[in-house]
Every structure is written in structure tokens, then in C-alpha cells.
Symmetry: C2
Subunit: 351 residues, 2 copies
DNA sequence: CTGAAAGCGCTAACAC
DNA sequence: GTGTTAGCGCTTTCAG
């Protein structure tokens, strides 16, 4: 900026005025400055600018995994909103690791982001207290913050969605419904399990622990759990899967169990012999690509809306809104596509 | 920092030393400083730090769309590498808009990112000249920079992959192969079209423009193009789709054309009547979720490797590597799953 | 309309 | 081992 000023024969401050489109600069002077800027290839240093001004016009987003469609949709919506507010976006994936979440958040704070959107992996967010003290705002998305951390949060109606999914299967005659969910320490997984239990209770059905398998969406884990479920004395007639990854891996596992293994039936699609559910009904939590073609009934969340809502809320806070902490809960939507509307097979003991 | 210094009864510089784990501080003094830091909730301002030090320890990534699985995988890999190098990552989606790409890149440069990874939407990158002059490094990924911009680039072997895909169909007896690609102004689309043509030429087959439909992966557009192709006098017996989105939308379009429309056959999956290809063979460029279950043969790229390679290259440059500009071309992999190995129907004129 | 001076929070380069 | 001084590139404040 000094160089530009010298080249244009003006003072530093005049260059600053031109660069920032501030009023009160002689048109001719401005032109001379602009020429010098172009000639020297000058670009304002926003780092120095934000140091002086206090706000960095940037926000930080911590998600679980940028490569997962759910979070990438959420991320995209946040990005859009941020750009709309003239903000740049730092992104980081926590990989479901509390320490890494914390490191990322603190790194963003060290960069003095104006605000944070966090999909928490951990359950202790007391480390944020000094940041809040310093004026940084945070909105939690998809999962609430740990106890003792007062912050806005935007969730899906996880329990309600799972309840609707289970009730849907019950309405179609199922009495033995298995639930395949994520690790129970994850908020969304616990909530969905709760919804499942509530639906059973509402229908007067017993809760059978043998029908519940919680764990990561690991192919081997799911194959083992499914095999166990299906060879039980009183196997389930329907499945409720707790998230997108689990649904997809369950489809794979079922295809391999029911014989139409990916390898074996390389021509599944071709020969019209689509990998089957082996007589099971299925409702999946989360919509996924090609679920429509496969005819899989799902309880859909709206990750983009989750992101948009969280970002809108954050910018409201950054604009000075100091109302009480809020908790949004976005509705889910059951989309019947066939797999969730199949009746159970006739019961052998009631011919 | 001043406050901490005062609270600990030391000079500013000593606090700085403690904060940065610099050697040569009395253990007792350090402890006193640390106590003051905790008590006051002090956090170093990295903005000021980078202003002083010159490097910002951050890089910018511009992709096409963060919500697209291809780019989100690439993005995730870049993020991982960046974090590994102690760098934070700015992300932005260009939405295939050259002006927006430029705005994002320049915004990142104004923040003085150390380096850039760009999936270019535009074809003119002369606007980067001043940034290069200033020492910012850039690596292009997935597509090369516009003419006159000397920069490293990491690509997939697009032409080779398409050639392999088309050759695969030819080897299985197909003579009339349609190509459904993206807008030809997009580098990857043009390259894949070239590969398709080369495969035809190598097999002595004519290039028939009527069999080529280039455009966005818009459902309506694809349905219309497919309908036109299939009702022609001499219709194709096989399809080569030019990218993941197009493959998926083509499957949808075919399902709706061949009667097993998503709506009509909500139970497709359930009844074992998987949406068919209507007798067509299919090879898709890009692997996609559930392609294995559907039995769709694909030419797979490795987006994560693309991102990793680009990031590694960038950090090599940032570490001082001043070798000549390089151009990486990563191999693709043909994965046969059934849809690409179906023979054409017997020809009527050769009974 | 333009400019000079101070300082945002930090670190590099030297003192002591 | 510790402290002082200067300055990164910009904006704010106030003076012409």
C-alpha cells in the first residue's frame, strides 16, 4: 500500500480510501491510484485489515466427515449462506473424534473466526467458555453441545422420525422389527433408538434387545449382526436402519447373505434379478442416492436445511441478536417406496 | 498478551516464548505465565501472528460443488493433507461459474493463503499472475488451467478411461455405442469424448454424431436425449455415460422409459423386478454408491487420490521445490459388474 | 478532499 | 534467562 501511495503520489490513507470505495476522494486522484494499483498488481491484505477491524469475516465449520453425503450437503448449505454474508469458510472433519473436534475448533478460534458451526463429536464443550467470553458465537448442528454449554442448536427430529419409521412397519403388520443403529454414544443414534422404542411401546409391542444391533456402519459388523438376527428362532420380519451408511451396507450385506452377492451376481441389474431383501421389509433413516430406483422406503432428513438453518441462526447472532438460546428441531419425512410396505410373511403358528 | 505479561509480572516477549514453546525460559517463570494464561483465558491471535511471520498456514480449495460426492472426496483428501501440514483449509464451490471461481480465488489470496488448489470452472487464469508474482502457489486439479497459466496440474486419464470403457463395449460385440457426456466446454467431458472417438477409430467403427448427446446431467434433458436415441432407426445397443451424475440420471431415465418408473414401481426392489436397462449395455464413467449392487460396470476415477496428489504437490512447492511445472495423470480402472458385459441383441439383418 | 500519527497483536532482531 | 525496540499492512482518529 505504501508502494502504491508512492507510485500515485498520494498518502497511504488515500489508497486505503480508494481500495475500500470510501467516499470523499477526488475522481482524478482515485483514477491515478487505481492505475498504480493495477500497475503494481497490488492486492489488499485482508489479514492485516481484519487485525485492525476486529472482525475476520470468516466462520469455521466442523463436521464429522466432509466425504459423507449428509455432511457435504450440510456443508454446502453453510458455505452458500456464508458467502452470501461476505464470509469465508474454514472447514474441518472431526472424524467422530472429540480431541480432533476440539483442536479444530480452537484452531479456528485462534484464527479469530467470527462464528462457529459445530457438529460435535465430543460431549464436553467447556473448552469453549473462554471463546464465548471473547465474543465468538457458536451454533451446534445435528447434535447438541455437551452439558454446561449454552449455545443454539439445530437438530432433526430424530426420535420422531424413527418413531414414524417403526410405526409405518407396525402399521403394515410387522411385530418383530429389528433396529440397526450407530454407536449409542452418538446423540442421533440414541434418539433414533428411543423413537423406535416409543413406537413399539405405543403399539403395545415388547422391546426385545436381541433385535437391536448398535455399532459403526462397518460391513463386517453388519453382516455378522444380520446373520445372527436372521438365524434366530424368532427372526425379525422387518428392519429399521439407523442412518444412510448403515442402510446401504445393510443392503450389501443382505445381498451377500441372500445369495445375490455383488461378485456372484455381477449381472444382477442386467438380468432383472435385483439383489433381494430376502423377504424382509425395510425402512431406512436418511434418504440416499438411488433409493428411489431401488424402491427403498426411507425417513428423510434435510441436511441442506439443517446447514442453512444453523448458518442463518449464526449470522443472526453475529448481527447482534442476543435473545435466549434456541433449539430448532426440523421435521423428517417418510417416503414410501415399496420396501417398507411389504407385509410380513404369514405366521406359521397361525396358519 | 500484554495482560498476561502484566498478570505474570514478565515482559511481553516472555509470554510469546511460552506460548510458542520456545526454549530458554525458566521453568518457574513459564509456569507462572501459563497460570496467568489459564486464568485470563488467553488465546494467541493467529491473525496477528501470520501478519508478522509472513505465512498464514492456510490454503484455499476451490471445487465445483462441495455437495457432489466426487468433489467432496477430493476435498476430504486435501483437508487431511493440509491438517497434516498444520494448515487450515478455506473451501468454496464455484458452481461451474468462472466469475465465482475467480472471486473465491482472489478472496483466498486476499487472505494471503499460502497456496491454492483449484478445480477450474473458467478457462482464463491470467488474473492469477499478480498472485504468482507475490509467491502464492497454485495446483490445478481435475482440469488444467487456461492457456498462459503455468501451474502444476493433476488430472485423471480421462481420454484413456473413456477409451477403455468404449473398447470394453466393443470387445463385447457392440457396434452402435451412444455417448452421453457433460457440456463439451468442460475439459473432462471433451477428453472423455475424445477417448470414446479414439476407441471407435481403433476398432474401425464410424463416428456417428447422432449417437452423441452432450449436456448437463439434467433429468429432463437426459430423458429426451435417451428417448430420441432409442427410437431412432438404428438405435444404440450400448451406452457410455460420461460422469457419475449422468450415469445415475440415465438409470432413472431408462427406468422411466422402459416402464419401471420410480413412481409406478415403487416396489421394484421388493418384487425382484429391478429397473431394467431395456436390453442396453452400459458402462459409466465414475464409480458411484451402490453401483456394485446394481451391477453397473464403471470406469472408476480415484477422487481422493486426485486430491491427495494435488495437495502433496502443493506442499512440496511450499517447501521450496522449484522444479519445472508438472502434469500428473492418474490412471482409471475399469470395474466389470455385468452391465458392460452384455452382448448386443442378435442383428435382424444377419439372422 | 487529503494526510499524519497511533495502534490492532504479534514476532524478529537484538540488547542486557 | 529475560526485556526492548521495531514493524508486519492495514484502519481509525483527528488535523489540516
Amino acid at each position: 500500500m505504501n508502494d502504491v501511495a508512492a507510485a500515485a503520489g498520494v498518502a497511504l490513507k488515500t489508497v486505503s480510501r480508494v481500495v475500500n470505495d470510501e467516499p470523499g476522494v477526488n475522481a482524478a486522484t482515485a483514477l491515478r491510484v487505481k492505475a498504480a494499483i493495477d500497475r503494481l498488481g497490488y492486492r489488499r491484505n485482508d489479514g492485516a485489515r481484519t487485525l485492525r477491524r476486529g472482525r475476520t469475516a470468516s466462520i469455521g465449520l466442523v463436521i464429522e466427515d466432509a466425504a459423507d453425503v449428509f455432511y457435504s450437503s450440510l456443508s454446502r448449505a453453510v458455505e452458500e449462506t456464508a458467502l452470501h454474508h461476505g464470509c469465508l469458510l474454514f472447514t474441518g472433519s472431526s472424524q467422530e473424534d472429540a480431541a480432533r473436534e476440539r483442536d479444530l475448533v480452537l484452531a479456528f478460534c485462534a484464527r479469530r473466526v467470527d462464528g462457529l458451526i459445530i457438529v460435535p463429536a465430543g460431549t464436553d464443550h467447556t473448552y469453549l467458555a473462554p471463546e464465548f467470553e471473547a465474543g465468538t458465537r457458536a451454533v451446534f448442528a445435528d447434535r447438541p453441545p455437551g452439558a454446561g454449554c449454552e449455545a443454539d442448536v439445530v437438530l432433526s427430529d430424530n426420535a420422531g422420525g424413527a418413531r414414524a419409521g417403526a410405526a409405518h412397519l407396525i402399521a403394515h403388520g410387522h411385530r418383530r422389527i429389528a433396529f440397526l443403529g450407530d454407536l449409542p454414544r452418538i446423540f442421533t443414534a440414541a434418539e433414533r433408538l428411543r423413537g423406535y422404542r416409543e413406537a413399539l411401546a405405543a403399539a403395545g409391542l415388547p422391546y426385545d434387545e436381541a433385535l437391536v444391533a448398535m455399532g459403526p456402519a462397518d460391513p463386517a459388523r453388519l453382516r455378522a449382526d444380520l446373520a445372527r438376527l436372521l438365524r434366530a428362532a424368532d427372526p425379525p420380519t422387518a428392519l429399521l436402519t439407523g442412518n444412510g451408511r448403515t442402510t446401504v451396507e445393510t443392503l450389501r450385506a443382505l445381498a451377500s447373505i441372500t445369495g445375490s452377492a455383488p461378485g456372484a451376481t455381477a449381472g444382477a441389474f442386467v438380468e432383472g434379478a435385483c439383489p433381494g431383501l430376502g423377504g424382509l421389509a425395510l425402512v431406512g433413516f436418511d434418504d440416499f442416492e438411488l433409493a428411489d430406483l431401488l424402491g427403498v422406503t426411507v425417513v428423510a432428513q434435510d441436511p441442506a436445511r439443517l446447514g442453512r438453518t444453523a448458518a442463518d441462526l449464526l449470522f443472526l447472532r453475529l448481527a447482534g441478536d442476543d435473545g435466549p438460546v434456541t433449539r430448532f428441531e426440523l421435521p423428517t419425512r417418510l417416503i414410501p417406496r415399496g420396501s417398507g410396505e411389504r407385509p410380513p410373511p404369514p405366521r406359521r403358528d397361525h396358519p
